[in-house]
């Protein structure tokens, strides 16, 4: 595919849905077979384009949830009930359907094992998606970089990739989840938003020059990045990606 592309340009490719996985009530993973996929780096995204029968087109950007080492390309999409694209992707799409996509895109919010660490990953809601690609990449290459994941979800049922995160936790990957809206009786994890005091406790010491990736709704990203800078972390080593309903 790269051979037929214009210089540096991305072409739209047809991807086929090979599997659909419900991650939570609102969130679904779409496993895609993309002929000629050139490979990607953990943290990159793709643009998805939908065309209606009357020719109307809508385009959205989604983070890639799979690691570069995984066979298929996986997108994880949260259904926003007033959204234009996500109700289709996370609701009506069926195995065997085709989607138009272009990518991989982006070079900023990317982690590869060669970049080292220690790594602090901070995610809110579906902001976990690109961080999950990084965690899978970390495991696939058996990286020796210590990782801490701070993940904020409203409820336990809203924790995306919950089983996988439980499996990954321990050893080099320290997974810490906070529930902001409600938590079950006996919940041992954190509660409330990711705030400065939790970050002071859970982030790596700034002198260790950790590398941080923060992805989530704009408000969460800005408050976390600001707090980390106030705690002495180098702004250039804090990478941010904001998402919102579009």
């Amino acid at each position: 595919m790269a051979g037929t592309a214009l210089r540096g340009r991305l072409s739209w490719a047809q991807a086929r849905v090979v599997e659909l996985l419900d991650e939570t009530e609102q969130v679904r993973s779409i496993v895609l077979e993309v002929p000629g996929w050139p490979g990607h780096r953990a943290g990159q995204h793709v643009d998805v384009r939908l065309t209606a029968e009357d020719g109307y087109q809508a385009q959205r950007s989604y983070s890639i949830a799979s690691a570069p080492e995984d066979v298929d390309v996986v997108l994880t999409v949260e259904r926003l009930d007033d959204g234009e694209v996500s109700p289709y992707l996370a609701g009506e799409l069926r195995v065997g359907d085709e989607l138009e996509l272009r990518g991989p895109i982006g070079g900023y919010f990317v982690w590869e094992y060669t970049l080292g660490g220690p790594l602090l990953l901070v995610g809110g809601g579906s902001g976990i998606v690109p961080l999950r690609a990084m965690l899978r990449h970390h495991s696939a290459v058996r990286s020796s970089v210590p990782v801490r994941l701070l993940y904020s979800a409203r409820t336990l049922g809203g924790v995306i990739y919950r089983d996988e995160l439980e499996r990954l936790g321990g050893g080099l990957i320290d997974v810490r989840i906070t529930l902001t809206r409600e938590h079950p009786d006996g919940w041992q994890g954190h509660t409330g938003r990711i705030d400065r005091s939790w970050l002071a406790d859970a982030s790596w010491p700034p002198e260790g020059r950790s590398l941080t990736y923060v992805c989530g709704p704009t408000g969460l990203v800005e408050s976390v990045a600001t707090a980390l800078v106030e705690l002495g972390h180098e702004p250039a080593r804090i990478k941010t990606e904001r998402f919102g309903p579009t």
């Binding site: 991305l10 643009d47 950007s61 990518g103 895109i105 900023y108 704009t218 919102g244 579009t246």
Partner: protein, 82 residues
């Protein structure tokens, strides 16, 4: 209206400029601050896409798609540094 960042327009920028642009640093023509495009503030919901300087909120780039062509206004950008 919720502001995003330059990661959200990585595909459009790649399409317009022909290479990966989010890691390219641009200097704001209003205040002189330099930020990577991924870090700039982006508003997607207007009739076009507006990119504002993370430091001064001045407009550094506007992208509007008209009949399949993307028009780019770069008057707010003093220059790019690869």
């Amino acid at each position: 209206m919720s502001a995003l960042d330059g990661n959200a327009i990585a595909g459009t920028l790649r399409d317009v400029f022909g290479s990966e642009m989010t890691t390219v640093a641009g200097a704001c023509a209003h205040c002189g601050a330099t930020h990577q495009l991924a870090e700039q503030t982006v508003y997607l919901r207007g009739p076009g896409t507006v990119v504002r300087c993370r430091s001064c909120e001045g407009i550094v780039m506007v992208l509007v798609e008209i009949r399949g062509c993307t028009c780019v206004d770069l008057r707010g950008m003093a220059g790019f540094h690869a």
